[in-house]
Symmetry: C2
Subunit: 297 residues, 2 copies
């Protein structure tokens, strides 16, 4: 997206349900991946962390008998140390992320969906797990019964997040896991209302092609939560605020089943292999949002 829109015009509302405390540090995996991507440090091969990372501290922690299943890299640790120190000094998560982003030269606005504590917990046949325990430690293998967003009902949306949604030229729901990446954001009171009320076109790109997630446990979790694992299922997750759904060319015959009331559908190649593919998809999404928008830009 930053290849086709001036970065400073992009506001990102990011999931904090995956956050965890490890070694006394506050870790925000989703936010960090975005900060690293936007500062051109993300390890795209691994999909997380910093390129060329080392894991010396992790090895030393393991030698001390401390938990080492969550792979904290040596460079990455600086992000967690700095954030944790700022949080302990009394800053909100939003303010700490603003400082981190600025220190990393990120020009887009990266906003946690809430400053309050929201934790995605996965009820499995073996008991309740924190999201990262399920996703990383157990490699999303246990059978899932349900997903809860602990703290979401009591969490507050920061005013700048609401403002960004209300005043946006377009709202793009990223092709992320609808249950555990987008879900914890939507579970915070006020977010769905803002999405329903914004004058901007709300466009979602499907994270599902055919009957499988492009990556990760989205399919497994959608299924566990009673949603059809298909672009149709994704559209239903967003039924109350979605204006436009972008699905893959290979799913074009689903368009008529998704189109409903005010929900439109656009078809293109959504499987992204490289930066060029990503730019092309971003350009497509932005142009379709503009075409359909009633907002004077």
């Amino acid at each position: 997206m930053v290849q086709v829109v001036p970065p400073e015009r992009i506001h990102l509302v990011v999931n904090v349900g995956d956050d965890l405390e490890m070694w006394g540090l506050h870790i925000s995996p989703d936010i960090d991946s975005i900060l690293y991507a936007l500062s051109d440090r993300l390890d795209w091969v691994r999909g997380w962390g910093v390129r060329g990372e080392t894991f010396r501290c992790l090895a030393a922690m393991e030698a001390l008998g401390q938990p080492a299943w969550f792979q904290l890299g040596d460079s990455d640790l600086a992000t967690h140390l700095y954030r944790t120190e700022l949080l302990r000094s009394g800053l909100t998560l939003s303010a700490t992320i603003e400082r981190l982003a600025s220190s990393m030269g990120v020009r887009s606005r990266v906003m946690p969906a809430t400053d309050d504590r929201v934790r995605t917990r996965i009820e499995t046949v073996n008991g309740m797990l924190d999201f990262q325990e399920f996703f990383v430690r157990e490699r999303w293998r246990p059978e899932v019964r349900s997903v809860v967003f602990a703290g979401a009902a009591e969490a507050r949306v920061p005013e700048p997040v609401l403002h960004s949604i209300r005043e946006a030229r377009a709202v793009i729901v990223a092709p992320s896991n609808p249950i555990t990446s987008i879900g914890p954001i939507l579970a915070i009171p006020g977010i769905r209302d803002a999405l329903r009320c914004t004058r901007a076109e709300v466009v979602a790109v499907s994270p599902i092609i055919g009957n499988a997630a492009v990556s990760g446990p989205a399919g497994k979790l959608m299924d566990a939560c009673g949603h059809e694992v298909s672009p149709i299922g994704v559209a239903r997750c967003y039924h109350d605020f979605l204006d436009l759904m972008v699905i893959d060319t290979s799913d074009k015959e689903l368009a008529s089943s998704i189109r409903y009331d005010t929900i439109g559908v656009e078809v293109t190649d959504i499987l992204v292999h490289n930066a060029e593919d990503a730019a092309q998809l971003a350009r497509f999404v932005v142009s379709k949002a503009d075409e359909n928008s009633f907002v004077a830009s």
Copy 2:
């Protein structure tokens, strides 16, 4: 010393006046050097930290605009993270060091001189500096006016420290800086009393040969505190509890000036170049302590 005495019989009472907080972590440089030495990980060339250390997190912290003058290595960080987490959970410093030592396979007993906050502060012509600011950041260059041990007067000695001093077969005052390494220990009420009252022989090895410290700012700081920079000056720092002073062969003509009342002097080669020299000096010190001791062992 661990080469000549069973490690589990060695109790170390260690300075915490050099401790500092950095990046939200509690760092105990003196204790850590001892833990690394006793677990055979100390970088003897540098004199601190872990052998083969890397500094990736430090570089990332510097890139974030955070203080980077105190060289925290990636492996070393694990020690600080673990200690800080244990302290935050409510454990005393003594208890956290006990856990760290045990995790590292250290069989000797490593004890902070106090669980309370004592901070060595150096009054320089440019103002007050914390010890590490003076020692590391300013490379002990500023002219020194005085040294204070903030918090020492209010600090309490843990009972096991007093017990170790009282029940020891010998007490060895290491050839450390008398002002900023031994001084902050002696400044804690109860320690000098215990040293005066113990039945064990109290032996000090001089950190000064001739008129200069073997390493570091001991000479500069002794001078600033009004002490003669010589083995005689060192003996005077310990005058009220010292039984035996070990000085270098090259200083043997000072022996008669140091001998006083109950203070004896032994002469040997105290400049240590390698593990073999160290073992020889340790054997000498232990044998002299035994010879002079009235304690049945």
